[in-house]
């Protein structure tokens, strides 16, 4: 039974990894060739990849007997899953398939990062045995997914802005701008929820809800950047190119909070 579950998880995960790569290629082809059948194929592939990845997550959760959201592998996998989910929702809502050209490679990179992590299932140390951790990470996945979508739309915006007429079937600037705003707003709400649930968990586990550790501090930095974005947009009418650049910068900050803090800052400390 154990072996069967491990096998199912591994196969569905690897298949999802490959499917996302093919999806990325298909979307690229669609962006260049502008054929309707290519759009349908790419969308179908994305759904397939998403389905496979969902299977791998569900099977792992069942196997481990807990939410599979606790180590680098599990979180990276869920992070990619969250972006794919937000993408599928936004595509349905805004009929904006070219977005896949930018989102699918991001998803592939993140699931690729996951594939380099150990997939062994470990029992949780006591500090991680908390339902608040589950809430905390779920909020992060949705928030990061939304920021990822804003990032992809912003890239599309910037590319079309730089090379007019380059992307097929892409909504007008105003719509893009609105999608970026809606996605950032969603991400901001969930990043806030992520930080608050994380604080509650920290209070339960260690007795203080905010300790200025690098991860916390960088999520605050990310939060402040997006807060500045929202204000610039609302009050100073920042739209278009500037807003798009902000959305890209914000997402880089998200990625840094997620991967960079663990590797770079921890590394800085250990080399000194």
């Amino acid at each position: 039974m154990d072996q069967l579950l491990t096998k199912t998880e591994n196969i569905s995960f690897m298949a999802a990894l490959v499917a996302y790569l093919v999806t990325a290629a298909a979307y690229f082809f669609y962006a260049v060739a502008k054929k309707e059948w290519a759009r349908k194929a790419a969308y179908g592939l994305m759904c397939l990849a998403f389905g496979l990845q969902t299977v791998s997550i569900v099977v792992r959760g069942f196997h481990a007997g807990r939410l599979p959201l606790t180590n680098q592998y599990e979180f990276a996998n869920a992070f990619a899953w969250g972006i794919a989910l937000c993408f599928l929702i936004f595509v349905r809502k805004y009929k904006f398939d070219v977005l896949g050209t930018f989102i699918a490679p991001v998803i592939f990179l993140i699931i690729g990062y996951a594939s380099m992590q150990s997939r062994e299932i470990h029992e949780l140390m006591p500090a991680l045995q908390s339902s608040w951790l589950g809430f905390h990470v779920s909020m992060a996945i949705i928030g990061y997914g939304a920021f990822g979508v804003a990032f992809g739309v912003a890239l599309a915006f910037l590319i079309r802005d730089t090379f007019p007429g380059s992307l097929a079937g892409i909504p007008n600037n105003e719509t893009l701008d609105r999608i970026i705003y809606r996605a950032v707003a969603l991400g901001f709400l969930f990043l806030t929820l992520c930080m608050v649930t994380g604080a509650i968990w920290a209070k339960k586990a260690w007795g203080t809800y905010w300790n200025w550790d690098p991860k916390e501090t960088w999520s605050l930095i990310t939060w402040l950047i997006y807060a500045i974005f929202l204000h610039l947009r609302l009050r100073k009418g920042m739209t278009g190119r500037k807003a798009a650049i902000f959305a890209v910068a914000g997402f880089l900050c998200v990625i840094f909070t997620y991967v960079g803090v663990n590797t770079l800052i921890a590394g800085l400390h250990s080399y000194k």
Partner: protein, 364 residues
């Protein structure tokens, strides 16, 4: 004439200053500086010894770093000042916007209008609650073995550790640390319960956290066959005869299941006390004169004294904390989140409805 002109001038200046302090350009400046301070505080290791910074960054840079308090950004006066200015900014802008929001709300009855106002209020209260917590929070640390009772720092409470249990899984990873505790106040009232990781015990306004554990050992000290002292020490602590303070036994490390690893180093094969050994050092007048491992119960003879380490026991470290401002922080966060939901999800919906109703939507 001249006087009132000056007065007008002065109120004009005051008004300008107030407008600046409540305005968004000021917020942007503050937020960007705070952002940079946070980045610095996360990249530069915080709260190390001063010599660390001189070693790591050199004399000039290290000195500059310490002078600017970059070794402890988040508790520095200038960071506090920045937070204070942000609060001032939030207060002034909330006051100045309150009238407008209220008037608009009276006209339209759209609750979404309160969204950003509530967001700012929540944030303001959150910063204030956090700052209050920095001053009001108290922390006491106690460690001991099961059966011990000790005063809890300056709180006037007594803490008894009734039991301490580490539950292990089959692969010897730790499933949970659980301490049974009884807290007694000055009037003799008691609260008993368990504290385990992620499940603190609440008593008399404090939360008791199971923080960490280690091994302790009893030490009997004999002189000429006579017991002169019995002491309980944790790994990392000393003991010695009272008549000869120059002589001390240092309890270095405990191996519950002693063995050698593949490189020939001491190790513990499991966390269970199957084959217990203590690593100890004997110090005389401050210098190490011998270091060895001993089985519990075996005598260690030195300078006419005999030390016997016996009955190794797990001790637990309990941290008691209180932050009277934490509930206020939680309430502030709830206001902040409610504000965000109103700002993002109640308002656009109404805008849409307004548009569908065909009325000229008054955009911000």
């Amino acid at each position: 004439m001249h006087d009132t002109e000056m007065q007008q001038d002065r109120t004009g200046i005051v008004r300008k200053i107030l407008r600046f302090l409540s305005g968004m350009p000021f917020s942007f400046a503050l937020l960007v500086i705070i952002l940079a301070a946070c980045a610095a505080g996360s990249i530069i290791p915080q709260g190390k010894t001063l010599s660390y910074y001189f070693d790591a960054y050199g004399a000039t840079k290290g000195g500059l770093l310490i002078g600017l308090k970059l070794n402890d950004v988040f508790h520095s006066a200038w960071f506090l000042l920045l937070a204070g200015l942000l609060c001032l900014n939030l207060i002034l802008c909330s006051i100045s916007r309150f009238g407008k929001v209220l008037a608009a709300f009276r006209k339209t009855k759209h609750f979404g209008l309160w969204g950003s106002w509530l967001t700012h209020l929540g944030l303001l209260l959150l910063i204030v609650s956090f700052a209050a917590g920095q001053f009001l929070a108290k922390e006491e640390v106690v460690y001991g073995i099961a059966g011990s009772t000790q005063p809890l720092g300056r709180t006037g409470l007594m803490l008894t550790i009734d039991s301490f249990n580490v539950s292990l899984r089959d692969d010897y990873t730790v499933e949970q640390y659980t301490a049974g505790l009884t807290v007694t106040d000055k009037e003799g009232r008691t609260v008993s319960g368990e504290a385990s990781v992620n499940h603190p015990l609440d008593a008399f306004g404090y939360s008791f956290y199971q923080d960490s554990m280690g091994w302790a050992s009893w030490v009997d000290i004999f002189k000429d066959g006579q017991l002169v002292k019995t002491d309980l020490i944790c790994a990392g602590e000393y003991t010695g005869p009272d008549e000869l303070p120059a002589l001390a036994l240092f309890f270095n490390k405990f191996y519950p299941d002693f063995g050698l690893d593949e490189n020939g180093y001491f190790t513990s094969k499991t966390p269970l006390p199957n084959n217990p050994y203590c690593l100890y050092g004997i110090y005389y007048e401050g210098s190490l004169i011998s270091m060895n491992i001993t089985e519990p119960g075996a005598p260690i003879d030195v300078h006419g004294y005999s030390f016997v380490m016996r009955d190794p026991t797990e001790y637990t470290l309990i941290v008691a904390r209180t932050d009277p401002a934490a509930p206020a922080a939680a309430a502030s966060a709830a206001i902040l989140i409610a504000g965000l939901v109103l700002a993002f999800y109640v308002r656009p919906w109404e805008e849409k409805r307004r548009k569908e109703n065909g009325s000229a939507a008054d955009k911000d």
